[in-house]
């Protein structure tokens, strides 16, 4: 295929994408402004835009955003430290890998969201239950990737380093860590994404504060326009955090 035709193809698909977006927003606007879709079910996009500007300029989102980010930070820190440490300890012995890896992988296949009612019972409606859920959910990808990273380093590298007289510290610093690092990073990235999702989710289901709580609160008050504004805000926050973490991962891997 010629370069020219390729460029024309690219332009055409861009046009389809833009057309899709325009049609969606157009349908949304005309549907709510002229065709009589109930304001409670679907607010007018112009109203949502005004609400969004109001939310952003008044700084009303700050307390809820702070709660959510704090929960994410604590849960992610706990699951990182425990997941990486435990993963490293398990990876040091083939026997431990054989014993624990299937157990952890099996546990990972249970939808851990089911623990939320238990955590609410143990830790209450506050941040405690959210942090516990976020930690549990993100622990598994992190520990499994750490085991995979440290546990399956090519034997040749280890033998070579040993025979050249590497100490334990040197072995860790120059052989194990560089080999395991990319795999662990992937685990950390997945862990971060699921922490964020599970914390937003548990805030939606049962909570006292946070972005998820705010959205539910507005939904129950039937303030749909403001709820849409908050949804947009939360989606943008989540997407930018996720892409920030992904870019960190890419940069660290390419070094």
């Amino acid at each position: 295929m010629s370069a020219k035709q390729d460029r024309r193809d690219k332009l055409a698909s861009r046009a389809v994408q833009i057309g899709f977006l325009v049609a969606l927003i157009g349908l949304w606007y005309f549907g709510t402004a002229y065709w009589g879709i109930s304001r409670i079910l679907l607010p007018n996009p112009v109203n949502v835009w005004h609400e969004l500007k109001d939310v952003l300029s008044s700084g009303e989102y700050l307390p809820d955003l702070k709660v959510t980010l704090m929960e994410v930070a604590i849960a992610f820190t706990i699951s990182c430290t425990t997941g990486v440490t435990l993963g490293y300890v398990i990876s040091r012995s083939q026997f431990l890998i054989k014993v624990f890896e299937p157990l952890l992988a099996g546990f990972y296949s249970v939808p851990i969201i089911l623990f939320l009612p238990l955590y609410v019972l143990f830790f209450g409606l506050g941040p405690g239950s959210k942090i516990a859920l976020g930690t549990t959910i993100s622990f598994f990808p992190i520990v499994l990737n750490t085991i995979a990273g440290f546990g399956y380093v090519d034997k040749i590298f280890i033998t070579a380093a040993r025979s050249m007289g590497a100490s334990d510290v040197q072995m860790f610093r120059y052989v194990l860590l560089p080999a395991a690092f990319p795999v662990i990073l992937t685990g950390l990235r997945i862990g971060f994404t699921v922490t964020l999702l599970s914390i937003l989710g548990s805030e939606t289901i049962a909570s006292l504060a946070g972005l998820g709580h705010k959205i539910v609160h507005l939904a129950e008050a039937m303030e749909t326009a403001r709820m849409f504004a908050y949804i947009a805000f939360a989606v943008v926050i989540a997407a930018s955090l996720n892409s920030f973490v992904s870019s960190l991962e890419r940069r660290a891997k390419h070094r």
């Binding site: 193809d9 690219k10 055409a12 698909s13 861009r14 389809v16 994408q17 899709f20 409670i40 079910l41 026997f95 054989k98 014993v99 624990f100 299937p102 157990l103 099996g106 296949s109 249970v110 939808p111 969201i113 089911l114 623990f115 939320l116 009612p117 238990l118 609410v120 019972l121 143990f122 964020l196 999702l197 937003l200 989710g201 939606t204 289901i205 049962a206 972005l211 998820g212 959205i215 539910v216 507005l218 939904a219 749909t224 709820m227 949804i231 939360a234 989606v235 989540a238 997407a239 996720n242």
Partner: protein
């Protein structure tokens, strides 16, 4: 060779045995801590949970709630698979639609759908339809993405060979694309099942009038950890069985491909 019964050696040689020991130790720890250290309003020992299962099933509404949840999962899964397959094939088989629509699909897949859960309740009510819709919204995207990737991974040489031997579009679909799609299809189904489980359970826990979400909330508020743990265990077992069925199917139907 005479073998002294060396327990340590036996365990080291058989990781499966050691796994059982670890599990047993965990249950023992749970049993002991629940019996002596932790307030019984928060945690019940596993022995009590198991003994309470019978009573749980006789609680009014529980069998019905489990049935409803299972039904929601099944319907959401079937819709996700059918629609996901159709959309995935439509997007994957044409270069143009792939290029223009795939970014939109990936964008939708990447947004945290949990933030729009209240909208699903607003549009579909608090009954099963909202759970099914939310389950579909979680299950359909991994299926589409896997199917598209699968269609694109078909070696061009196979398509070219079929073309040059004069195969019609339908024949290419039936004899080249379809057999190659089977492993991908089941891989997508497995991911879809994980998504559907997550979506339906999230929606159930959020608001529910007769499903399991209603009962988890009831038991939490009544500080009845025996029944709550029993219900959660039953649901976890259901999830494991469903996941395992799909995973087995994936292994079974992916076997023929050896490369």
């Amino acid at each position: 060779m005479n073998r002294p019964l060396n327990l340590k050696r036996e365990i080291v040689r058989r990781p499966a045995l050691a796994r059982l020991v670890v599990l047993a130790a965990l249950f023992l720890l749970w049993e002991i801590s629940a019996r002596w250290w932790i307030d019984p309003t928060f945690l019940s020992p596993p022995s009590k949970v198991v003994a309470g299962l019978g009573e749980l099933f006789y609680t009014r509404g529980i069998p019905r709630a489990l049935q409803i949840t299972f039904w929601e999962l099944a319907v959401a899964f079937v819709i996700s698979v059918v629609v996901g397959l159709v959309v995935g094939l439509a997007v994957g088989l044409s270069r143009f639609s792939n290029r223009s629509l795939m970014p939109i699909i990936l964008l939708l897949y990447g947004t945290p759908q949990i933030t729009i859960l209240p909208l699903f309740i607003l549009y579909f009510g608090i009954g099963p339809p909202s759970k099914i819709a939310f389950g579909v919204s979680h299950g359909i995207f991994p299926i589409i993405v896997t199917i598209v990737a699968g269609v694109q991974n078909i070696k061009p040489i196979l398509m070219t060979a079929a073309h040059s031997m004069g195969a019609s579009r339908w024949q290419i679909f039936r004899w080249v694309i379809f057999p190659h799609m089977i492993p991908t299809f089941f891989a997508g189904m497995r991911l879809g099942m994980t998504g559907v489980l997550l979506g339906v359970l999230l929606a159930e826990l959020y608001v529910s009038s007769a499903g399991i979400g209603y009962f988890t909330q009831l038991f939490t508020q009544a500080f009845d950890p025996t029944k709550l743990l029993g219900l959660v265990s039953v649901l976890a077992a259901m999830a494991i069985v469903l996941n395992e069925i799909v995973r087995r199917a994936e292994v079974h139907f992916g076997r023929w491909r050896t490369d």
